[in-house]
Homo-oligomer: 254 residues x 8
């Protein structure tokens, strides 16, 4: 990481007299964190090889999104993931930059380019209505360079379809289980596979599903080991985490 | 039902002058309901052939339980089911009447006698800690004359055991699914069998199980058709309902 | 069940050398579940004699519904129950197939045909505003071949109407009690009848009804034995379960 | 009310020079409220003819209760109601003053004396376990000089007993309905009588009764007009309010 | 009440042979309740002298409301209270019958006529936004023949206005306290007056008021004796109950 | 405060005979509170030097707001703060009086004039979507004469920006921390600064944020001392309180 | 603050060659925060003149508390505030160091010494049962050098006592309002005074107080401006914040 | 996995006539799942090299634990992890097998042996009271062969300690963040590191922490990407998942 080099350079400038100690102090104080080389130059995590930059679209105007995306594109970014962007905004953005837009997942990829399809992530859903959230997860993971297999509508009513895809499930390095209502999918999948399971409760349902609460609680209480949960409808978060896990480097030999 | 006859008799007494209309009015007003033959002479449901009388032990003292049980016994009752009776009370009761006591289910059967084992009810649990509630259901159903098969600890971690008992499950006329935590068992069972499933959430669990709330919500949201839910830890209610369903008479030919 | 025969045939093919053990293994692995004859070839429950196929309309487009219904009709299905379909979708569907549509219950029956009216189910409501949910239950049960009696608006304010229909209630093989607000109907009915009661809380109400929560909790806590509860506003689930119970075969003699 | 006279006197003292305006200002400021004749000389409501003084025992030591009761007794108070006092405290208090103690209701009456039994209040409960709260209500009302009729255990399972007491209910000037679990009693009673109904949810129950929440919500949502609700287990508050209502004076002729 | 006479007449008809006992039984069974003279001929409570009939508008169409109101008017009813009727429905109804409509309270009075203004009810609110609910209460009480004084916007920020109206408050026979947010008004009023206080939480507020929950809980926990609570936003219920209390007859001398 | 003088004057008028004691009593009763010099002549707090009058816009019509603002302006008020006023109302108001309107914060300042910028308040937000609430706080504080520094979007993802502004934070006399979602900002800021922190949870978020509940609970549980919390989205309340704290006078020497 | 000097010195050491740039980089990285002079050498806030050090007793053993207190005492600390320490621990601690212990508030002051009584904080409670929490607040504030006035039991039932203490309230620089149940005290006080009010909900109550939730929500929804809320039962936090506010320095003249 | 071999063998036995097809069918049906080689011979996951077997102690008696542990030991198992075992049970178990017991974490390791310390997991806590849960996570991870670094008490009040350990944090392959109260630690850590963060809410806290609900909601709403959440107090689940992630194999080159 070259931040250390920057500080070192600053210190060397002090050492050789081209900067005064007072200037250096000021400089150090002004940028307390990133300049000190503490891990993160830019807290907007730069996703590594083959991956995407992330641009949260939810609280930005189409114009802001377009501006940022264009600027990033000019700096050479490719596969810029834009989350929670509705179709209306997407239309405006796509007028200004090349955009691959997925309306169901409300997700766009600006300056789409080649990306790898590493490892194996399985995204499965309990029902068809969980698909928008699942697609947000799957497209996020794909944009970040992962190989994704979709197993949709494999909840209780379609348990046989889940079981008939055991081979795919067993080969996954990470499974994203997306389900609303009673959220049993996470438990069932967690009991079958031997890799981390990221459970995503969805707000799909009615009555006593209370906006996803029932699925959330069920998933948190999952008896299966290896499961963890993200926020209701947080497909992006699940896809991002699954990508992190899928792309883990192996343990060093030492 | 002979209540109608009683009223008829009263009316006939009016008709033949042995009772005045005024007396009859008073009589009718004083016993507005049971005397009119509206279905239920005694709202303490008299359970039919081979079944038990029910005595709710929760809010009664050991002495009250003993007194009632003894009186019922004297009237010839057998297999009197006493619910929610702790071991201490049971000791006092068993000193006075013959009592078959099940400490785990906190359930006693006074004046135990022969009882049939009709049809087929399956009681299954997600884990071993759900057993007390499941036993309350199973023993209730048995006391009421049903044949009960227990499939315990067949939740997610033991799904293979559930699947290996599919034959038993498939033959059941009613299944009672007892589970705490994420309550997925009801959904899984409901997706497998073709008979009514009575789901019993239990307060087993910790953290976000919130005293059974997570299992309750999950079960209410079960995607599987044919499921319904009773109160948290209400093993008795589930056993009673399962007995009702199991002992349904067939549709008449007409 | 002829699945066993298929496996047997496969094994015999191995036995007589027309299939290699390796091929058989592959075949067995590929179809882990349905081919093994475990109970359910098709998890889309085929409802038996006089009944309907069910098509969940909620998360499907009008075009998808139409396509599936048409395909099912071509395979000879009649009385196909389509749930949670709004009037707009119904208009599109009815342009393509024969459709009996009930706007209040948001429920359609494609290719309506003769159906039996077996046994006796009573659907009662606390108020007039609970009618849409009650109709979903009643129409579901009717489409599945049951005889249904409606007792609407028989809650507290109309208790006398409920009491004046005691004969009908007493003859029911299953009662569906639909109520919002304080949900007392389930308790009252459960205290009167001697058959299973399926309680349906509705989201009707305001203020502290909290979207059906008050009725749901009240029904779960019902003191009456024989009651169980389905999800808030889940008329379909109640009608389906009531049909299951109503159509129970009698216990065998053995 | 003679407070006005006191102020008038003060002002007259100013008028005739026996008090300076400055003194009067000070006096007025020092006793801003009670001296100005605003309604309540003593906010400890003095309950009228035949009634009791109330002493909240919950957060007081036995010694404090004894001290206050003795002092009140010396000032001539009789029928001093002491609420939420456990048996241990009662033993200490009764050593010092004459005390009529009701352990179930955790309620004592110090210096018990003759009291009237005016009008008619009915206190009814859904089950036997609601009795402690009901007794707190009934004894409070009795201590305050009201005639109280108890109708216990008249919930769903004992609806016929409620109906057979319709005469008593119909003659009541106020009904206190005490119930836990699903709280249906308030609705049922509210639908039968034509006088104010004070509903008291109790924490009796288990599982989804959530410490009285289910009964509370059900009672708040009661469809019957004329019902209102007090806090969970607040027998005292219900008895006090019922007394207020029962002892209402008639409308003046004018 | 002439129902008793009807039954008596029926019994006399049996006595004198003009009706057979069997016919009488049938008759008694067919109309189990109202014909037996149990208190309520018509469960739509007929409010006594100077009062209104109530017609719940919420779940009825304008046409239904119009039809019922017209029929009631033809039977001589005056001051028919129609609740929860929006302006659109009111326009249709007023085209057919004489209607006094209060849009804020969504309440109409059909065939308005002279009505008394008995006793004294005070309706007070914490803020101006609580006015619609308060008006529903006040207009209900007025339609039922009560004298109503409005004290609006007398919450914390206007406490001095409340205190400056102490005379009015002190003369009230019943106070309706309407407040959202923190609901402190009920406690403050309850601490000042000596008559029953009916507290109405409103859904006015935002954030942690959770649709009226905060005011509801606060009011239920009110330390002041003599308070009770109705459902959130239930102005009608409060006005109805206040009318009942205000119009209580005095205790008989005996 | 000259109220005391007014009462003194009244009393002196009595003393010198120009007023009768009876008149004085009447006068004192009519204005029980404000005339007695108890602190608050007008409960509409008059904010002191350089500050604004507050006019709650939420439950008022544009015409009412305009009328009040105009009247206040005529009495010489400047910088009248109008809260929760939408753009539509603002348009009407601005047609009648000079209005500085901030659409995002839905806040207007009528008759804007010079105002001081005293002390130092920092308003910071976790994300950009918290800005409307933060602006309501900041503009309120500015209208009341405080110097405000905005640090927006300094939540977890921008922690380095928060740290790089430590100088500003450390100099603040009061910090307003506005955040939705997990509300961690309050804890982090509270751990860094040594002055009172007013935390404002916002309803920004989705899923398990439950309308601001998650942020609210997190802020209430903040481990950092010196933090307190206002209602969800209550930017005005936070700005008002921060102004109070910022403008505290120093402790007297005595 | 001399940290800046330390860094400057380090930089000067680099400038004059007594440290290499590499050494300086290492040094800067090792002590990322406190060495940079960002405000807080020790995050354990050193409370200023006349105040106490705070030692959270809740999760520490008596031995740990004793050890830390002794060490602090040796370094010259006086008035060390020890919170949430039960009597048993206090006995052990007091055996080792001089300890002023307040059992009701579960609070100790080790090495008690002279402390000032600056400004004016009023701590008031709704009832007597709120006293333990109030004492924690009051003793905390006193230990930190503030003058505290206690106004206990001044809730609704004792409103006149509150009003009769208006002078004290009006002179306060900060008021701590402690109340359980309906929490109205905060609103009432907030409407009377013109200084910041710190509201402390307590878990005192029963039934629908839900462990302090009712008071918490009521206080958050307080209509009075200038109020903010701390966690349920958090007397320490309120006392600490009140001290901060009370000891605010006056605004500088500039 | 040799299960496939077993089936293959069975099929070969059929092929060579040593088994009849009928026998094979029976065999296949009897062991539907595990014998088919679908992934999991034993659903009690056998943790791989250097790791432990897991034995859930919560619902087992000491005797059952001892029996199972002894049997596993006899089959050569080492480092058998026993969770949720209290000290009393541990004493009994340790009498029969070699047991390393950690009372704070209520966790034992039977037949402890050499185990590797692979990769790098960091377990950090917000406060000292979160330690029991953190130790359960840390000891679980260690028993499963991972290298674990503990960073305890690094919440808001000790943020500098967290920052001063950035090197350790940055090198972690997975971080477990354990915190109660406001749960901000997960967000802060999640914003600093670039690896998966497993958040564990704890029930530590009081008042509005509602048994861990506040921390749970905060963690679910964490703005930081890469975070997921397990159940309240579920240290074991977090340690298990962290081990899974830490021991991920690297992506294959293909």
């Amino acid at each position: 990481m070259d931040n250390k080099h920057e500080i070192l350079e600053l210190l060397r400038a002090v050492a050789d007299g081209t900067a005064t100690p007072e200037d250096a102090l000021l400089e150090l104080k002004r940028s307390p964190f990133e300049d000190l080389g503490y891990a993160k130059v830019d807290f907007h995590r730069s996703v590594r090889q083959g991956a995407a930059e992330v641009l949260y679209g939810a609280s930005k105007t189409a114009e802001q999104i377009l501006g940022i995306a264009r600027a990033m594109g000019e700096r050479g970014c490719r596969n810029i993931l834009i989350t929670r962007m509705d179709a209306e905004k997407a239309a405006i953005v796509s007028a200004g930059v090349e955009l691959e837009y997925h309306p169901e997942a409300r997700l766009g990829i600006a300056f789409p380019g080649d990306r790898p399809a590493l490892g194996s992530i399985v995204v499965c859903t309990g029902g068809t209505s969980d698909m928008p959230v699942a697609e947000e997860a799957a497209l996020t993971a794909e944009a970040m360079g992962n190989h994704v297999t979709r197993l949709y509508d494999v909840g209780v009513a379609g348990l046989h379809r889940l079981l008939s895809s055991l081979d795919v499930l067993m080969r996954a390095r990470c499974v994203v289980a997306v389900a609303g209502m009673e959220g049993a999918l996470a438990s069932v999948v967690g009991g079958l596979v031997d890799c981390p399971v990221v459970a995503v409760p969805t707000s799909v349902g009615y009555g006593a599903s209370f906006g996803g609460l029932s699925a959330l609680l069920a998933m948190l209480n999952s008896c299966a080991s290896g499961c963890s949960v993200v926020n209701i409808d947080n497909g992006f978060g699940a896809g991002y985490l699954a990508s992190m896990i899928n792309q883990m480097e192996g343990l060093k030999a030492d």
